[in-house]
Amino acid sequence: MGTLDTMTEVPLNVLMMESSERDALVILQELKRSGYVSHCERVDTIDSLTAAIPKKHWDVIICRYTMPRFCGLAAIRVVRDVGLDIPVVIVSDADGEETAGAAIKAGAADFISIREVGRLGAAVQRELREVRERRDRRRAEAALRRTEVELDEMQKGLVQSEKLAALGRFSSGIAHELKNPLGIVLGGIEFLEVKTKRGDPDVRTAVSKIKEAALRAAQIVDDILKFAKPSDLKLDLVDPNELVKDALSLFQYGIKSREIEIRADFAKESMRVKVDRNRIEQVLFNLFANAVESLEGQGSVHVGVMKRPRSTAFPHGACVIEVTDTGVGISPENLRRLFEPFFTTKRDQQGTGLGLFIAKNIVSHHNGDLKIESQAGKGTKAQVILQLAE
């Protein structure tokens, strides 16, 4: 039978394309008989249909197959073009199989001859169910896609941290092996310094330049050894607000220029992160120093501590420490290479190009993330994202 399973009245928003007042009434009566309370708007041109569609959430469009000014297939096209999932039920005087086939092929939900209008209630009920199912499926698929993306990111993160750990062990081994020969080089230079004290000034200049280079190499070796290895972390439960306050006051103590203003906003919520305080301070120092340097003497730096809700990557929620500056910014080419080891734009200022590389490693070893966004000429925003403690 063309009735609902239960006879409770169900509200139904119906957009009807019907030029005949009488047939429209027949359709509405049939819907009422099937248990629907219809809120119906009747249109009879393509323009009025197009205008009516966005007005409200329509449950169903019931459309006459042929009308004086257009045919039902055009209505199907309009709905399809809008991209909304609204079933279009075609009602026709004729009941030819060919016509029905054409309508279904064009995307009609059903094709009902006016003579068998008693079938309309069941058809609408079925279509509403299918719309619901399609909507639920779409939501599930979207959620699945989101989870897949998050899982993919987590997997990439795991692979990355494994790679970093291996790279850390490898680099640490190399750095150790370099220390003895470097010791000999430096010792040799210092030996020559004494031996050439009263010698040729050119030789003395050469010796001094070699010494500079050897000390620089020693600095790089030291930086490589700062590479955080997970086993090296001394984890403590720390309040991120306190951590940032301490790092900031230590850092400000060392700033030469009083022109530079560093503002800070702290999280109102109480938070705890399990971190190696010294290592994270090292990261923050690096970010503060980069921000201040980028100002080139004028502008401001803002430091913020915020709480971020739970997510797949951070199941206990996260703490975000944000360092924003109004400095010179970073060009897109440089931004892409920012975390590469030995990439530096400060070669002339004794930059080793390991600061951000190490900072990123340290944060990664805390299962966190370090992100940097920048616009050349406008400024840079760096975010340290740390997992909250359970």
């Binding site: 210092e190 030996f191 020693a218």
Partner: protein, 128 residues
Amino acid sequence: MSKNRILIIDDEKDLCFFLKANLEARGNYVVKVASSGEDGLYLAERFKPHLIILDIMMPVMDGFKVLEELKKNPKTMAIPALMLSAKHDDESKIEASGLYCEGYVTKPVQIDDLRNRIRKILKLRKLK
């Protein structure tokens, strides 16, 4: 003023050569070198150094073992030891301090830094 005697125990012979030359050229020291732990223990008794500079990573007998033996021997236990190592990790430093070494410097070290450390240790030793 008599010169302070320093014993370097390190298997890196070239490093020792320059350390000895630089310390003797820039400080009031007489330096002897041992290139193994065993030789180091032998020289520590005979040469009676005022201070021992000791490497950690050495074959056969490492620096920790040498330090342990030095501190067990009544003839050498009072000699201050300064560890000079490529090992930078905290564990090594803690282990060394547990064995009563007087200082820890990581390689490569600049001669002036090393001289400062030596001077401080010897000064402290005299005060004691």
